[in-house]
């Protein structure tokens, strides 16, 4: 995991108030949990304890088995072996209702909220007997208001979830658990979608909950947060417990080593060599969609990586859509390689030399039920290399697929394997290979390492830096501030459809970036 460590006043000192003393009763005990999915062993004989009032961090890179373990605890999955005990009593496996009744609440990584329903409806769902003749909205509203106030989780019960910001939705997820009188709270990567300021607010809320007697399991792969909020850290690696430490007795380096099992050297970043202006946006706005662009200025130069920081929902999708060709500019000037982007479409973008790594590899980047071979030619199949007079040259396509598999280290059974069988990292490498093979002049990398393990992350970063070295202009959109800070030569912050001014590497501190992400500072005053 790549680390960024400037001293930072926003990051509090580790160890919050609360339990963790040897005399606090054990509220949760997982014993030797094992779970297999086909040939993959996601959890291998994992045991852990949680004491009352403790905050335990479950640390591990993507794919280490953290979410699977918690899904077993909450009842979404059933373990193949092992038991779970909550408050001294065994917990019925595979039954979220049993977990909820036992006082276990979960804030899922991907929110389990119905967009077209209100906050009240989402929270009260399933809390009353199913065949009761009436739903008591009044008492539900009272309880929600009470809980909101006690823990600083302000939200309007009658608003549609679709209209809430990501931070507000997370509050609803937490309220869902508190409404059901959870005494153990599991949070799965809660800060992945929050600005630094919202993260601090979340941590403050967690401290209040602990003071109220709750016990917390906090899943994360971010070392600084783990150090900031937890009493104890359990590190998972490859489905097994790699180590357990009291937070006060360890440091980031040791945890990183436990997480990855080896010394990972981040790829070296050579100084940027600025090339030609390859793309420019002047006062560009987009139409439609929930979070459009509102008058954005941006320039991309060859040989540089421009990173767009900010949490989702501020216009990143529109910006990515613009570069991908799926969205058009409704106002302003959008130029690529010197000429205006008219008759814009994904095929036009490809023709102009834009390589794209989309945000969602499963829904957009790849067609799950088609083979690796069929996926890899999806952008180029119309070129003379692969088709003549409407007929496809499958032999040429296969040769190309084999070449990409080789060059981009894609582990798969072969070009004919259905792409759905590849791991996330290998699928992403294939998509990367498809995008980079033609050596595009402009590259869009949208959340390129989301959900990937450390090895795959390093690989992707290495290839992006390679493309940068040969003169490509890269637009990197990422929620991971560390990634942005490591890779970007230029950084801008996206907030409410507007882009801040661009700063050079090292120019702005994390605190300053956090302010911009929260919508304070110059971005809010931009014309």
């Amino acid at each position: 995991m790549v680390e960024v460590t400037p001293p930072d006043p926003l990051r509090g000192s580790p160890s919050p108030q609360g339990g963790g003393s040897a005399l606090a009763p054990t509220v949760l005990r997982l014993t030797s949990i094992t779970k297999r999915f086909g040939p993959l062993v996601a959890n291998d004989a994992i045991s852990l304890d949680l004491a009352q009032g403790e905050v335990v961090a479950l640390l591990g890179e993507n794919g280490a088995g953290k979410t699977t373990l918690m899904n077993i605890l909450f009842g979404h999955y059933v373990a193949d072996e092992g038991t779970v005990e909550a408050f001294g009593k065994p917990l019925t496996p595979g039954d979220p209702r049993a977990a909820l009744n036992a006082g276990v609440g979960m804030v899922h990584q991907h929110f389990t909220l119905a967009d077209n329903m209100t906050v009240l409806e989402n929270i009260a769902l399933g809390t009353e007997p199913l065949f009761a003749p009436r739903f008591r909205a009044g008492s539900a509203r009272d309880k929600i208001t009470r809980l909101s106030g006690s823990f600083g989780l302000e939200v309007d019960p009658d608003r549609l979830v679709a209209n809430l910001t990501v931070g507000e939705r997370q509050r609803v997820e937490i309220l869902k658990a508190l409404y059901r009188d959870a005494r153990i709270l599991i949070l799965d990567e809660p800060t992945a979608v929050l600005t630094p300021i919202e993260t601090d607010a979340l941590f403050a809320t967690l401290r209040e909950l602990v003071a109220d007697g709750l016990s917390i399991i906090f899943i994360s792969h971010k070392l600084h947060e783990v150090m900031a909020i937890s009493d104890r850290v359990i590190v998972l690696r490859g489905g097994k417990v790699a180590g357990e430490r009291q937070t006060s007795e360890t440091d980031r380096r040791e945890l990183a080593a436990l997480m990855v099992g080896q010394e990972l050297v981040p790829p070296p970043v050579t100084p940027a060599v600025r090339g030609r202006l390859l793309m420019s946006l002047k006062g560009v706005s987009t139409d439609g969609g929930r979070n459009p662009l509102r008058g954005v200025d941006l320039e991309l130069f060859g040989g540089e990586i421009t990173g767009i920081a900010g949490v989702s929902g501020n216009g990143q999708a529109a910006l990515a859509g613009l570069l991908s060709g799926t969205t058009g500019a409704s106002a302003g000037m959008f130029e690529i390689a010197g000429s205006s982007a008219t008759n814009w479409s994904p095929s036009a973008a490809l023709a102009r030399g834009v390589g794209r790594v989309p945000e969602d590899r499963h829904a957009v980047g790849a067609i799950a039920d088609m083979s690796v071979l069929e996926n890899v030619i999806s952008e180029q199949y119309r070129s003379p290399r692969f088709s003549r007079r409407g007929f496809l040259d499958w032999a040429a396509a296969r040769a190309f697929a084999e070449q990409v598999i080789r060059d981009y280290d894609v582990k798969c059974p072969g070009p004919d394997a259905r792409i759905r069988l590849l791991s996330g990292g290998n699928m992403q490498k294939l998509i990367l290979g498809r995008a980079l093979d033609s050596e595009p002049a402009i590259i869009l990398a949208n959340q390129p390492t989301r959900g990937l393990d450390v090895g795959a992350i390093a690989y992707v970063h290495g290839r992006l830096l390679e493309a940068r070295a040969r003169g490509a202009a890269i637009l990197l959109i990422s929620e991971d501030l560390d990634e942005i800070l490591t890779l970007s030569d230029n950084i801008a912050v996206m907030s409410a459809g507007k882009l801040s001014s661009v700063s050079k590497r090292g120019q702005r501190s994390i605190a300053q970036l956090g302010e911009l992400m929260a919508g304070h500072g110059e971005a809010a005053h931009a014309a």
């Binding site: 999915f37 086909g38 059933v78 193949d80 595979g94 991908s324 060709g325 799926t326 479409s345 994904p346 095929s347 973008a349 490809l350 794209r356 989309p358 829904a363 957009v364 980047g365 790849a366 067609i367 799950a368 039920d369 088609m370 069929e374 999806s378 952008e379 199949y381 119309r382 088709s387 409407g390 007929f391 496809l392 499958w394 059974p413 394997a417 759905r420 069988l421």
Partner: protein
């Protein structure tokens, strides 16, 4: 309960499950036969005999299979792209109407020119029939299931109107029928005194053509990509709407050829009962064939055999011939389940 994708379906599984589906179908049919007071084994024997027990039976089966190959292909092509064409019935009648309009003497041309001309015109008529719902889908986001279904009813009424009006046979007695086709517009018989006609050959040719399109052309690849994941296809640069329109034109055209084939090859004129649900049965044929064009030929012959055999059986054994429809519907549901089971393992935990 969970479904886990299997990495590579084993050969035994790929064969065993579909066979299992057919076994279940026959089992359920047996229950119905018992309810009718007859002996399942003798009834199925009669069905088999009626379907393939003599040269006459076999030829009948192939004749009955011809329109089913066309509609099966039409549905297979459309469903591959996830275009839910449930309107093959209307497209079939569009082709039939066009055949009658052009083939009853309006064009005094020799057969080698007239027949292809009528066939192409019929296909165009069917293509246009499905174009409407396809445009409604791509332009306005209207679900094509309901529009194609409702158009079936509209079309039948339209044909009824034509048969009592413009296309009416002035020398017809009793029920409405159209004028008869001139000799040059008739598809010749393959075997002298049997009903099998060259429509069957055309159907096979179409199956091969569709197979080539799906396997070897860029359009076939595009149709499959759009059917699997239209959003990813759009991102990759494919013009999804254009692909859907092309799919609709091809699918509608194929279904219309069923109408052309029945009128020009078998009946010689148009009546309201031209199609006893070929459009809907085409859906079953397509699914039994797992949307594979060559499989459609085999599935069509199989399904036709069941209908022809059941008709023959019903006359002697007294079991209502609707048992064929029940078997076909059961085969559809069991086959769809079987296909899923070859690809996924059911995990109870």
């Amino acid at each position: 309960m969970r479904l886990e994708p299997k990495p590579a379906p084993s050969l035994t599984a790929t064969l065993a499950y579909p066979v299992g589906a057919l076994v279940v179908t026959f089992f359920i049919a047996s229950l119905l036969v018992l309810a009718a007071g007859a002996n399942p084994l003798s009834v199925f024997g009669l069905v088999l005999k009626g379907a393939a027990g003599s040269q006459f039976a076999l030829v009948e089966t192939l004749t009955r299979a011809t329109p089913l190959i066309f509609t099966g292909l039409a549905v297979a092509v459309a469903f591959r792209a996830r275009l839910w064409n449930i309107g093959a019935e209307a497209q079939l009648y569009a082709g039939a109407v066009m055949t009658v309009v052009l083939g009853t003497g309006a064009l005094p041309l020799p057969a080698p020119i007239l027949l292809p001309l009528i066939a192409i015109s019929a296909a165009l008529a069917g293509a246009l029939m499905l174009l409407g719902p396809a445009i409604l889908k791509t332009r306005f986001g209207v679900d094509e299931v309901v529009t194609t279904l409702l158009l079936n009813f509209v079309m039948i009424l339209f044909v009824s109107m034509l048969l009592e009006g413009v296309l009416k046979d002035p020398m017809g007695l009793g029920w409405p029928k159209s004028q008869s086709l001139i000799a040059e517009a008739r598809l010749p018989r393959i075997i002298g005194n049997r009903r099998l006609h060259y429509g069957f050959v055309l159907a096979i040719a179409c199956a091969v053509a569709v197979w080539i399109i799906m396997k070897k052309t860029a359009l076939g690849y595009e149709m499959r990509a759009v059917g699997h994941n239209a959003e990813a296809a759009r991102f990759a640069g494919m013009k999804v709407n254009t692909i859907l329109i092309k799919t609709a034109l091809l699918s509608g055209g194929l279904a219309a050829l069923a109408g052309f084939s029945e009128v020009a090859g078998l009946k010689g004129n148009l009546t309201l009962d031209l199609s006893p649900g070929f459009g809907y049965t085409g859906i079953v044929v397509a699914m039994l064939a797992m949307l594979n064009p060559l499989g459609v030929v085999i599935a069509a012959i199989f399904v036709a055999g069941i209908f022809v055999g059941a008709d023959a059986m019903s006359r002697s054994a007294g079991v209502p011939s609707y048992i064929a429809n029940v078997m076909v519907a059961t085969a559809l549901l069991t086959m769809v389940t079987a296909i899923m089971l070859t690809r996924f393992r059911v995990r109870w935990r």
